[in-house]
Structure formats: C-alpha cells, structure tokens
Symmetry: C2
Subunit: 127 residues, 2 copies
Amino acid sequence: MNISAASKAAGLPVKTVRYYADIGLVEAPWRSTAGYRTYDDAAVRKLVFVRRSRAFGFSIEGCRELLGLYQDQDRTSSEVKRIASKRLEEIEEKQRELQSLHDELAHLVTSCRGDHMPDCPIIDYLG
Amino acid sequence: MNISAASKAAGLPVKTVRYYADIGLVEAPWRSTAGYRTYDDAAVRKLVFVRRSRAFGFSIEGCRELLGLYQDQDRTSSEVKRIASKRLEEIEEKQRELQSLHDELAHLVTSCRGDHMPDCPIIDYLG
DNA sequence: CCTTGACCTTCCAGTTACTGGAGAGATTAA
DNA sequence: TTAATCTCTCCAGTAACTGGAAGGTCAAGG
C-alpha cells in the first residue's frame, strides 16, 4: 500500500501520515526500491489508533505511550486506565474553565443592548 | 514607566508586553533616550484590556479588533456585541465537543476494570 | 517510444502566541 | 568602581501539522 492508499484507509491526510512517520510515531514498515513508503494492514491499524486517540485530545506523546501499550502483550489495563483517567480529568478541568468563561461572557452579552450607541458593558468590563 | 513596571501593573509578563509591542497590538507610547520602552497609564489600560480579552479566549486579531472599538468613540455597542456573541458561540461549540468527548471517554474509563490483565475496552475502542 | 498526469520524495517555511536565552548596552545602589 | 539589575535586539523553540517548491517514479494512452 502506498501512502495515499494508507492515508485513505486510516482516514488521515497524506501529509499527516508522513509527519507521523517522520517523528517516529507510526513508521512505514517498508520502502519500495524507489523509496516510496509502503504500509501494511498492521501499520494502518496503528494510524487509525492514533487518529482515534488524537480525537480524544491525547497529545502526540500521549499517543506514543498508548500505542506502546496497544502493542504490548504484557500491558495491564490499569496502565491504560490511568492514562485515560488523566485525560478525562484534563477534559473536566477544561470544561470547568469553559463553563465559567461561558457564564461570564453570556452575562455580558445579555446585558449589552447592541444598539447604535457606544455604551457597552462588555467594553466596560474589559477596560 | 519602564517595561517591568508596566508589566506588573498590567499583570502580564515582560516578554509578552514586548511581544504585543512588536506585533503592533499595544506599542509603548515613547522610548527613553537609551531606547527603553516607556509606558503611561493609558497604555497600561490597553494592556489590561488585552489581558482580559485574551482570558476570554479572543485571538490576538480579535483583541486587535476589540481594542480598536475600545478606543473608538464612534463605536456602536452592536459591533461589540456581535464580536462577543461570535466568541460565545465558539465557546458553546467547544463545550459541546468536550461534552461528547467526556461522555465517551468516561464511559470507557468506567468500563475498564483497571487490573493487572491486558484486556481493556479503552484499547479495544481505539484499535 | 514518448508524453502526460498522477503520484511520490525531501526540504523549507508558516501557523499561534508566546517563551527562553545569548550578547550587549544602561542604570542604580553600595 | 563594581556588582546587580534592568533593558535592548535577535534567534530559536514550542505543538501538530499544513502548504508549497523542486524533482524523481510510474502507469496509461497515442
């Protein structure tokens, strides 16, 4: 499988697949005589794994760690759960931040008349 | 006021204040003979304005736009409200994303036993 | 056999909003 | 005078790609 077939199969842009190979996250298992990256099903599965992990907001380094566990027959589910729980806490922290941001901004937007006059509680609050 | 005094007054790192000057967001009104940036209260107020805007998640360009309105006597509150509402929608969109991410990941984490065995629904889901 | 077009390669630059550090000049206190 | 503390500019790095240039490869059609 050349890179474009692999990228389609994995649901990732070609550029990203190449990038993941460059940083040693998911390397192409072989190169053709012309130097073309050649992927097999196992490599594509790793790419999909990374795509899904990224969708959960794991960093590249987090993906690297998860991918290591994915391929490790001796892993324990507690290791995986620990990493996932950490990410879940980050998400919850972000949610709390966004919630207070939302409430504050929503309040300001509501209290702004939005007319042709310059007076504005939003600007007042920021200034 | 030299840059460190201004940065303390504005609640921003010196590096950031210099950066804002470099990109023409909030420039120092004067320079000393030695070339030191010199700030006055009005400039500090602008820096504070930018800090608060950034805290709401506005991009630098968004801050530039808001700052323009802040200093524009002829602004209308509807312009401000439009920009703030846009940001509010972005926040709400992000909240929805995070919520579904959270629910999905929380479900996986809950269903993982987290023991010494390799079997793990989280890994299964990602792979 | 040749050409055309799609594909592949590497390398470099740009994105966002800073942050860190080097090297050098200015100012201030002891 | 000297040491410490500013301040300056410029360069590089961060995260995770993305776009583009310049050039090699391959398969199909004429």
